[in-house]
Symmetry: C2
Subunit: 140 residues, 2 copies
Amino acid sequence: MVRDEDAVREVNARFYRALEAYDAEAMAELWAHESWVACVHPGWEIVRGWSAVEASWAAIFASASRLRVSTDELEVRVSGDCAWVICIEQIATRVEESFYRSRAQATNIFVRRDSGWLLVHHHASPMSEAAFPDATSTVQ
Amino acid sequence: MVRDEDAVREVNARFYRALEAYDAEAMAELWAHESWVACVHPGWEIVRGWSAVEASWAAIFASASRLRVSTDELEVRVSGDCAWVICIEQIATRVEESFYRSRAQATNIFVRRDSGWLLVHHHASPMSEAAFPDATSTVQ
């Protein structure tokens, strides 16, 4: 039997794989399709409701940029049929031939359904560049 | 009997009252005193564990500034013994004779204990000034 924490950790990892792959279908499978789910992309206003959240991912996936995201300092908490993950997103954005690095602080909330754990809230906020000296460097 | 949503809404309101009052004791009563609670103040690196979270509030309360915080677009979700609140914090910071306005997007997570709902995670991130033209204006 998979421990709850491990199951949540795996769903959280699938979320970042779907993000990197710009895979709208995989992203849709991860979320609860409810009017009350919400999503804060780094630097965006909050997006509320699955339809709007889905559209926001579509807008990101339609852009010419590509993302690589690894997670640091990841912590999983489970409380009954609810769970949340706290982590730092290390983001590399490729635009044409250049890469830009940034960091975001993420809070991801999941609820347990018969089908497994579903994402209901994603809040990612840009982190200060001060603690990340290479943030503005271009690596190629 | 108080509905769960109303009980969570009230604890969330107490959190902002404690913040405005710079009341360390009231703040301490609101949080679970656990090693795994976490707090992201707007623009700060994440703070983990009650001792560090308590120290972060002490640092804020020790400053010469004073805060007024009202909440907008507040939404409460309860899932079993876990709950979360999403809201926009409208913040007025007073430094000497000047007020500065800012906004933050907040995610607050609570768990239910015998004593009531306790805060276990606060994530507040600065919002773009673009949607808030008065953000940099100085009133008073």
